[in-house]
Symmetry: D2
Subunit: 410 residues, 4 copies
């Protein structure tokens, strides 16, 4: 039986668990050590450490203090790992906890982080997804169910001091260009809610003040939110510190490309079964700067898609230069408009795009001035036929059920 | 035997062919008419009308006047089509001409259009790809061959006058924000090289002066360069004028997501076999603003990928805000660096990314400040194993062959 | 432009074409020679040499003299090929003739060859399938269309004298065990309708008297009717004679596993584009007795199936011992019964199973006394939903159209 | 948390567990009841009830009394189910027990059941497969690992009295045609080792004497050993008795088409999470005689195959009439011969064909006198390249490790 090296108690605050941390810093002590070739299991909190509840109110999504995220399990030290190596991680399996067979998806209020379509969905909303073995469905969104493409939203190795300084300088300089922006341009270190694992005393205080926030993906991987980094995948991570220091969390039962709803995918607590090995000196041998990976041979095989195009002209008709971000937003809005014709509320449609195994492709990026992005919506996840036909759409969803919404407090 | 409604003679200038045009304008007369339910064949020039030759010099890529592109076959009038309808186009088959079983890929000089990585590849280069039935390979790039994902880079219906004016205003206002930029922000109407099909006299002169250039994708589709709009796909196009006016050209034997090399995919002359039908009033019924489509059931099934990540920190270390364009560029550069370890020149690697059925995914767009993009490189297109392993890469490509390069003229 | 080494004129009898033959014999002269590495095109007749017509009568299916089949193009000599080599054949592309964009499927009368379900369909019937680019549909079977999985039903190299004698002895001994059986156990050599290619005079007469019929698959491949040997595949054939002597014919636009209707798949005239190379001594090196192959990366991707089970208890309730043939017949009959609930005639359903990309799997062969076979019916080829649901099937096909039937003549 | 309705203790004899049975009989009492729409979990023994051990001796495979199999969990009663209904079973998930992360594969001695290739492998052999999350590998077979296609080998509903009598008469009549055969033609009822679940007393004795053995697949499904009935699949079972009486067991971590090794796939103890619902009167509505099913959207996506052909001429050169069983055996033998060139023992190769997600297709069944069957071997499961090339195979497996063999006792 494979050893569970890190356990978490969902009834306990993650701040009480010394094998959890929510900042990146080279001084965080290893929670445990393994050898190359070992396989082992780590349990994880959901990214909010249990703040979001399985209920029918979006108050928790509205009220969460986002400086607490993400609660990661680790770091795991790997014997013999040295800076410049590649740490090879086989994601042997990933699952939800038996006692926690559900996840959440939501939209943050624009005042509290927002999301990809925050101007269109400026207030807090939430949907709850129940897991039925390999499948999931939501009591807030009828007519749709799908197999999970289970993956960690966040995984990577500890930065060294130089990398950490690069991150902090780069992002703080960036914040300084528009410090009052809502949502902010980036998140600076913030000691008050930092959880530095086993680190104690002055060392802890110093590290908490400088530890990088976990929100963005960076050179080491981190919060990539790549849906295809799913169970069964093999990942090659850059190593920056002795022992590598691998941490993981923010598990998703499923997610669409872009994680557009930000809060987030279908977020869950769970466990990761993985095996580690090393390619000594692999960063230089292969010219690696960011992680690379091989996808899993076991993923949902939905292959019938309806594909929506978007170009880099924004909602107001304004031209942007080869801007894929704008183009993908248009593709998403086009899909939401389309789904509304079948009876979905726009919030339900947005949530489907954020949770189902939707693909987002960078289709054209050179035809000035318009980028072209495509959103691939799998048709087989719907209980009814969503393809266009000559007689027009049938309103299959009759309303009466929608995502809970919690207005901003004055 | 299906009728070929538009024929082209590759030995003749496209300007001599009245069933070809290279601008978008509602006054371009229909080249021919069909009924809903009809299937028919259109022959097409390559996008440059034969300017780029099957040889070992990039001089043509350097010297081309890009104001001549794209030479489109059409417009085809569809009886009964009215503004607000959806024109359903089944791409029944697409192929190269028997006498022209080759295509080209290249990088424009930065002074003449550039490309996605123009700062890294600032000079004109070219590779020639020979077709062997379903497959292609290049004498300029050893060790790689793949099945074609054949598709039109450019297809769509004529705009009406209001749409045309929207395009022209939007893009000329945009150009005005930085009129001296090289490459330019967008391309304004340009009468000197306009080909307005059958239009003659004053009407022609007026339309040529106002006709929209064909370079960008726009609301009607147009130059989307979506590799998945491949033969076997079904596309739903917005109709703006009576008769719809469907035109097509810029055929590609294969392309990677993004068409990053700009000149372009594997560009070819050929033919398109299609069937048309109508969804009356379909734009309003389904809330359609841009085309939507269903992909083909017959596409290359390469499913073993090596995936490269990129984040929105640019080559100089500068932070960009959730910029997928920057992130995808980093993923591409990471893949080029990786492939160079197997002996490819960087130009060869760039060309592979532009031509092979490479996927580009918008993986994360909400984790401030970094977008995350992924480039999916199919491993099965290489004659050798490109996956990482503990002993490091073997230099399989021994050099001696590279893409022709033509330096800018003083 | 690739050379077409063998041309056929569909208006001419195949017996007039010296580059065609319909028997296997080592003395048939090479029709042409190629070098390893060459690619070339061969045109082919349909397997009956044009006997079956594009009309609405099954008289031709009833009346055909099956001793004339199959008309093959070749043999092609490959320089340097010797007995014991493997001939590597890349099926670069396969297609129908531009002037012959249709094919046929039928059931032979039980008195004239029968088929897999001949006791259930004892009389001659026929359906005609029109090709629309990559797709096909039949005026005799509404509600179904699909992309072609184009392949040669018959391809292989000439036997040597010893192999030929093995075949003839084996099959004639077998016929002798029940010489009066209808349909017969096997087909003996038959000189009257033999076409021995360029062979003339006494040599021709001798070879015609001994030439093996082309009906069964044998050690060299031959009439395997493997739907997955499709365009894009790579095949490794045993070589028995100097020059190999590769012949091909019996092209199919599409076929289900088993080619259960026998007459046959969607049979067509067309052309094959192929490239040949050699693995010297490959039969011994790899222990090859029958051909092996790698499937194409480009095949129809229908992946949503309804799967029917069958066991080796026959229609009368009789037990058979691990008999996959009986089990697959039951699975086919179960599928026909099922499809009839949607309004299809049983003949239409049988034809769908014979022509569409249906899979037949050997699911269990050890659980005495019952073998278990499964028939995989792709649901995406139907215009309507054929999956079971709680309210029962809707009769989507209203009748009025069926396969022409020609009763046996007295 | 989903209820586990049937629990099994692997340390306890299955004969002690009243919710387990090893015969089919309508009088076996329901172990538990559920409602349509319920989802629930059943734990199961491996098919031998724990007789085969995780060790390096094949003595247990040689010595097992096969009259004890298969130990099934159930029957589960479904409220409202009546004869003639279809019981819809969603296989929501399937897994191994945390404390039992391994399975076995073996060949029975020809004296004790044999297998598909028993004349070639007449003695007892065994391999042990360890599970690593989604993957498995064996210490007895180097160089190969793959993702599991987890499925129940055996699942189905209780027969009614008439169906039971049909089975018993059919099979006992069949045995009577060659009663001394080794292995036997079929297995008659056998009371001595029967486990009739909760049934007690005289009723138990009568039922044990008449209960059908669980070895063959039959009209109700049963021991179909269909690898594609995997987790995520949806199955429609005929109902014969009030309450349906669904039982399941014989879980496989993975299996090739045919389960050719008979002992068996990769056999394991585990659990099944399923949901049930009803189609009232569905057997008549849809014309259902055997179960039908829809495959899972989540299965291993190995898509690069090397395909071996076999025809119905047996090892001795004897002709068989369209016999798919013989043809598939030849394809298997061809694959074993091929794999031996890379260094595998023939027993290792045989075990790979029995355990990996190998496909067996019924390719041609009408070309008299030869059936053609194909065996599809996924190339991506090997650590090295098994495809043919011009230089011949490299012996990658160096021997020293093989399957334990236990000779028959005198």
């Amino acid at each position: 039986m494979t050893d569970t090296l890190i356990k978490v108690d969902l009834a306990e605050s993650p701040y009480e668990n010394p094998n959890v941390h929510n900042r990146w810093h080279p001084d965080i002590p290893m929670a445990c050590w393994v050898k190359p070739g070992d396989d082992f299991i780590l349990e994880t909190y959901d990214w909010t450490g249990g703040f979001i509840k399985n209920n029918d109110s979006a108050d928790d999504v509205r009220d969460i203090d986002l400086s607490i995220v993400h609660f990661l399990s680790g770091p795991v030290g790997v014997e013999g790992a040295e800076p410049g190596d590649l740490l090879v991680v086989d994601l042997l399996d990933i699952g939800a906890r038996p006692e926690s067979q559900w996840g959440f998806n939501g939209f943050f209020s624009k005042q509290n982080g927002g999301g990809f379509l925050t101007d269109h969905f400026p207030q807090a909303q939430k949907s709850i997804w129940d897991f039925h073995g390999l499948y999931t469905s939501s009591r807030h969104i009828p007519g749709v169910s799908f197999a999970g493409l289970i993956h960690p939203g966040l995984i990577g190795c500890l930065p060294d001091q130089a990398m950490l300084e690069t991150w902090n300088k780069r992002e703080m300089d960036f914040i300084a260009t528009d410090p009052g922006r809502v949502p902010p341009l980036a998140n600076p270190p913030f000691a008050a809610t930092a959880h530095m694992g086993r680190l104690q005393g002055d060392a802890r205080a110093q590290a908490a003040a400088a530890g990088a926030r976990t929100v963005p993906p960076r050179e080491h991987g981190g919060n990539c939110d790549i849906k295809d980094l799913s169970r069964g995948a093999k990942v090659y991570f850059p190593v920056y510190v002795d022992g590598a220091g691998l941490s993981v969390g923010d598990l998703h039962f499923s997610q669409g490309d872009g994680e557009i709803t930000f809060c987030g995918a279908i977020e869950m607590a769970g466990w990761v079964h993985m095996r580690v090995s090393l390619i000594k000196g692999g960063m230089a041998k292969y010219g690696i700067r960011n992680p690379i990976f091989k996808p899993s041979p076991i993923t949902p095989s939905y292959n019938d898609y309806l594909i929506f195009e978007g170009i880099s002209v924004d909602e107001s008709g304004k031209q942007h230069y080869l801007d894929v971000h704008v183009a993908y937003r248009q593709a998403c809005l086009n899909a939401i408009e389309y789904l509304s014709r079948f009876g979905y509320s726009r919030a339900q449609a947005y949530s489907i795009l954020g949770t189902a195994p939707v693909q987002g492709h960078i289709s054209g990026v050179v035809d000035i001035p318009n980028a072209c992005a495509t959103l691939w919506l799998p048709t087989q996840i719907f209980d009814f036929d969503i393809r266009p036909n000559a007689s027009g759409p049938v309103k299959m969803i009759q309303g009466g059920v929608d995502l809970p919404l919690s207005p901003d407090l004055a």
